[in-house]
Subunit: 103 residues, 2 copies
């Protein structure tokens, strides 16, 4: 019996939408709300829920401001968020490696 | 804006427990229920729920039998399941690659 330590997978990041957000921000560092909504092809409500989860975990910062009269929401990856994402990638890569012998 | 196609991630496989089951079976081809429960350190109820989901998708087969008087449940990866898992790994690997430049 080979133990598969699924507890090491960070569930805050693992969900598809949150994984998409983190992946996007790992490349761009910051993004505005509409940019993320477009890139992930998701709805406003769905994106809001998942951004809140990542903010609660301290992985991203959400800054609301105005560009002229238009409200603007910017999202930024925090240092702990970057670290958590790097760790997530490591864990998933190890999982991938563990199965490569079976293919 | 770089589109991140999270729709390509197979949600049947992506959940932690189901990913653990598929990873285990990719290595062993078949496993019995108690072996999986031990390897994934999960509960009987939780494991049952997730095995049913994978069975519904046609990714695994569940065979119930008796070893003497003891009921035995064996789980086997199907050909479509192996294909779906290989595809899942490919999609995740591509996602990993897309972020490696950002680190």
């Amino acid at each position: 019996m080979i133990p598969i330590d699924i507890g090491r997978i960070d569930d805050v990041i693992h969900g598809r939408v949150r994984l998409g957000i983190m992946t996007y921000l790992a490349n761009t560092e910051t993004a505005d709300f509409n940019e993320l909504k477009g890139a992930l092809n998701t709805t406003q409500g769905n994106l809001s829920v998942h951004l809140s989860k990542l903010e609660e975990a301290g992985y991203i910062e959400i800054v609301k401001s105005f560009l002229g009269r238009k409200p603007n929401t910017r999202v930024r990856l925090t240092r702990p968020g970057r670290k958590a994402f790097a760790n997530y990638l490591k864990v998933i890569a190890e999982l991938l490696d563990s199965t490569s012998g079976g293919e």
